[in-house]
Symmetry: C2
Subunit: 412 residues, 2 copies
Amino acid sequence: MEVIKKAQLAKIACKEWVKLSNSERDHALITMADNIEENSLKIIEANQKDIEKAKEKGISGAMLDRLTLTKERIASMAQGIREISSLPSPLGETIHGKVTNQGLQIYQVRVPLGVVGIIYEARPNVTADAAALCLKSGNAVVLRGGSEAIHSNKMIARLLRDALQKLNLPFDVVQLIEDTDRCQVQQMMRLNGLIDVLIPRGGTGLIKSVIENATVPVIETGAGNCHIYVDYPVDLNEAIKIIENAKLQRPGVCNAVETVLVHEDIASQLLPDLKKRLEERVELRGCEKVRKIIDVAEATEDDWETEYLDLILAIKIVSSLQEAIAHIEKYSTNHSEAILTNDLNNARRFVKEIDSAAVYVNASTRFTDGSEFGMGAEIGISTQKLHARGPMGLTALTSTKFVIYGDNSVRR
Amino acid sequence: MEVIKKAQLAKIACKEWVKLSNSERDHALITMADNIEENSLKIIEANQKDIEKAKEKGISGAMLDRLTLTKERIASMAQGIREISSLPSPLGETIHGKVTNQGLQIYQVRVPLGVVGIIYEARPNVTADAAALCLKSGNAVVLRGGSEAIHSNKMIARLLRDALQKLNLPFDVVQLIEDTDRCQVQQMMRLNGLIDVLIPRGGTGLIKSVIENATVPVIETGAGNCHIYVDYPVDLNEAIKIIENAKLQRPGVCNAVETVLVHEDIASQLLPDLKKRLEERVELRGCEKVRKIIDVAEATEDDWETEYLDLILAIKIVSSLQEAIAHIEKYSTNHSEAILTNDLNNARRFVKEIDSAAVYVNASTRFTDGSEFGMGAEIGISTQKLHARGPMGLTALTSTKFVIYGDNSVRR
């Protein structure tokens, strides 16, 4: 199997890669970025093949756009790698250190995970982006992109590996699975001992399949059925501005708001203005109580459960903070939720009781993002509780080990 | 299914449990400890049934001993709970906090995982121990012990729950699966959404089965094929003392040494003395080069791979630090390894290149333990790289969430 062979090569190469100094790794990343940018015509040529195939299959619109690479997009891909190279390295950081009661000197030190497997869908820029993040944090990477982008991915991976080879570095730290047959990905999910962690990036179906089938540890990324609760008292104009931002600034992404919960005491003031502001661009769906105040389509059980990723917004009136929290507990994917309020107790209670990766007070859910949080770049947003939660920067791609110095110490 | 019903109850109860203050939880733990100790006769009575059944099955020796509860062991079980209650709570700790470039105030705060599933084998004291650790860190626990200890486990779990009920607290945070049929544990491994993490504690077979079958995130604990490498120059007497400690202080546990690697330049000095010191209590097995120096049984490929957990020690002569590292890379389970040396460069290289949870310089591998590391208590020793690595204390039973305060902030 291609995937086994390549994971083995990655495993061997990562042992050399971790021995380099941070500046050697950073220099390698810059060389990779240059090689990408200098060969953008080759990438565009390969990308053209993917686009033709996609068009034959009838793919169009947003999906075709995500697949398409232009000179500008390739330049920004290269720039992304350069920015990752300039971030501080997480490796070697001592996160705890002390002398134990027995006199042992003990350090908990950040180390790479080893080999990171990334399974992703259409966007070919993930190939460069994920590779750079993994390499910067001292890992090797096994990439498995979607078949739609295979020609682009192959060219990008080749250019990344060529740059490493030019520098006489272990280029096997970058592996792309070229066989797009499903059996490769099935095998990849079960390569315990060769792959240390799997990160699926893509739609719900992909992520579910990885969770169902993987025996390798997985970091679940993803789905965001995000809520904003408008409490009372609140600044109505600001509330509308935040809802508009959370829905419209980029509706197709996981941190966009999908359901707005409104306290009954301000519903009759808020809803008409909200409708006026959004109705031309957003389809509004409301619960029965909402529809007594504004004329919108009916929201059903399905709406509360759905991550639209689209210009649709569900609205529900609740009679208390408690009811809002209960609704969120029931329907949220625990990604990002916000309360808009001027009541300190309610803000504190919302923050304490809402069990989501990011909990906001008086801010848009759209901020849940590695670069907004100051991490520099992100490999994804974890919606699980193990290992990493929320936007994952370079430290999420590391583990730790304990280093212990004794004075010929034995245990009593 | 019993396990689904009980996991649901735990999920609901943990939402109440997390709202309590740390001192309310600590008080609950002390009440649980008292209830265990006051009812030790009831526990002994239940334990008697398990022992009789075990004897009927022909179980004896170490296994029977592990199953047996005495008044003293129950007192120490209760004392263990009290000690856990007196540890500082990890909850609410802010592990990062800053103001972002956009002016958002952002905190990364420690929160409970939610519902922790523990799958374990014979020892009934795990029931009290694991429950106390999970509850202290704000979680609910679903316990699934071995059928051999079912009567003891049922009584202990009942007493823990009774103590909570007496205090009018959500006693459903402690759940024991009483149906010992395998289908319960199969179901438990796939309760995504109800169980947040599974920790298997037991033999290799149990752990492997959980990794193979679970869709819930797992923390792998366990197997320790630990190595000591005796470098040159080294203090021979101290080296022998450390090897003796690592093999003999408690041979049946995961951090005991199984293979000693000896640099060829000191083998002829070290091995005769080592043999003299160990041969009466330990069966020694050596590679060909070892057997030219001392008369011991032959070590085969199997020996390098085996975690004996017994009074057996494999010995191999290596010609360099590099060969020692390569041997460890090939055969280690990445639990604990030690170098004994007085060469600073070699010590640093060993620490850097050995990819194990605990890497020692001039100390016994036996120190890999939560209480030796100053964590107070441990829920297990993780041999995986995700989430937690090495001894796991209370913080390993937590996750984090991001709490973000804005000033009606929207993303640009």
